[in-house]
Amino acid sequence: MIANKIIPNFSSPAHVDQVGIEERASRFTKRSIKNESKVNGLKLALNMIDLTTLEGKDTQGKVKQLCYKAQHLHDVYPGLPTVAAVCVYPSMVKTAKTALGNSGIKVASVATAFPSGQAPRDVKIRDTKYAVQNGADEVDMVISRGKFLEGEYNFVFDEIAAIKEACGAARLKVILETGELVTYDKVRKASDIAMYAGADFIKTSTGKISPAATMPVTLVMLEAIRDFYYKTGKKIAMKPAGGISKAKLALHYLVMLNEVLGEDWMNNEWFRFGASSLANDILMQLMKQRTGVYQSANYFSID
């Protein structure tokens, strides 16, 4: 817990240089990464994926299949890493935990009335505890965007702190749903609130709202993490989620991560991609590098 005296005054507005952020974010897409570095970058990105299925139509069979995929991404390519975690609804945590066994892949569960977050706090706490009791290693919560936009920052702060407490040993990812916060100023403020309230990760989006993760919004959050680290000495992890489906874009994110937070963050303890179709695109690029031949989705397992 962070001592009260260093918690900033959230009622003062955050100021993010919109033009500067967007210009800087676009610079990261201009780096040329080829051959060996590309292969290493792609493997690292693969290892940072939270392979996700969050559909109303999810079944146990679908979750088992996803867990199998998480462990066997593309068996014809020896020495591939696995993904970091599988991300499911609380009702599927037990199934995922059993299916993943001792593979070392973590189970992440969304909670707190995902994706809207429109539920009373006791329901959110029970939702969280249910996920953790069933074996979730990580909990992805959503903040109450309505309350945040009304200016009820204390409510949001207390809610995150309460969920953190309910998580116990599980790591807490706080989803800001940046697409609903609209401005970078609000994203920055929500990031600060989440980190001071006890988040282990800050995460951009649920994937249910467009726009989801973008490079500028991720940059704002990475800078918030950097400033928080300088102030408190505590490392916070980052998870952009939603809309990252191409290997090339994933590499751009890694470039940004490296240039903002540095090498200490370049592993799956401190950075994740929330994605479902990204894994296959990365696998296709890796196979292209290995065989020299452009690949077809027909030869990769469905996600």
């Binding site: 031949v293 452009y294 690949q295 077809s296 989705a297 027909n298 030869y299």
Partner: protein
Amino acid sequence: MATTEKRLEVLKTYKIYIGGQFPRTESGRYYLATNSKKEKLANICLSSRKDFRDAVSAARGAFGGWSGRAAFNRGQILYRIAEMLEGRKAQFVDELMKQDADKAQAEKEVNLCIDRLIYYSGWCDKFQQLFSTVNPVASSHFNFSNPEPTGVVAAIAPQENSLLGIVSLIAPIIAGGNTCVVLASNTKPLCAVTFAEVLNSSDLPGGVVNILTGKIAELAPYFADHMDVNATVYCETDAATQNMIKEKSALNVKRVVLYDKVKWNDATAQSPYFIMDLQEIKTTWHPIENIGGAKAGY
């Protein structure tokens, strides 16, 4: 005051055609197209393998919609392409004349292209009946075979014609429900790019036809070994390239079609067999109660 000012002519930028858009090549490379009098005609995109990759993913994206369309509607769209070509005849005649044809030859070639599109437009919803069969089998099954499109076709157009070759090649490919990436003639690329504008202003969905300009030697290996391409078509006679295409196509068992003896000006260059070259035959066994003559079978 007498003015002798000459107006600066606005020259056309010849770009490539991918997914219904006209991008420049991602490589930023160009080559100069000239005619036999060494007159400069235009700067033409020297497409790279990445342009081809992008074109294949556009073609793959368009395949479901195009192959799933009613055959009759595909016929309507081919007819529409012919209509659009008719309306821009003068431009094509002009381009053909720049590329060494005389006026009579040029007009003949454009007319032939329009007629060929109409011809394949008519075949769109008719070749299936002609090439489907009901097969006699020795069990209680209704057994039938019918053609289905092969998928994404990567085709290298004939070099000798600017327009007729590419039109004669594309029409049967898309009439059969395939989508394609076509490499235009290297020495006579002008009409191919203008034809892309015709395609774009007809009702053809973006991505069904993608047109690149560039070098055969550079791009042919990728046409043959891309895993997401289902067939490769090559219209030249170079034996080494033919063998290379056959070898590389074996990687994902692509269909290879070599049109090295086709005379594109000739009436023999249009037939439903060109459509059938890029079709797969699917056979279905449908169980039925009885196939005896006296009783109700199916």
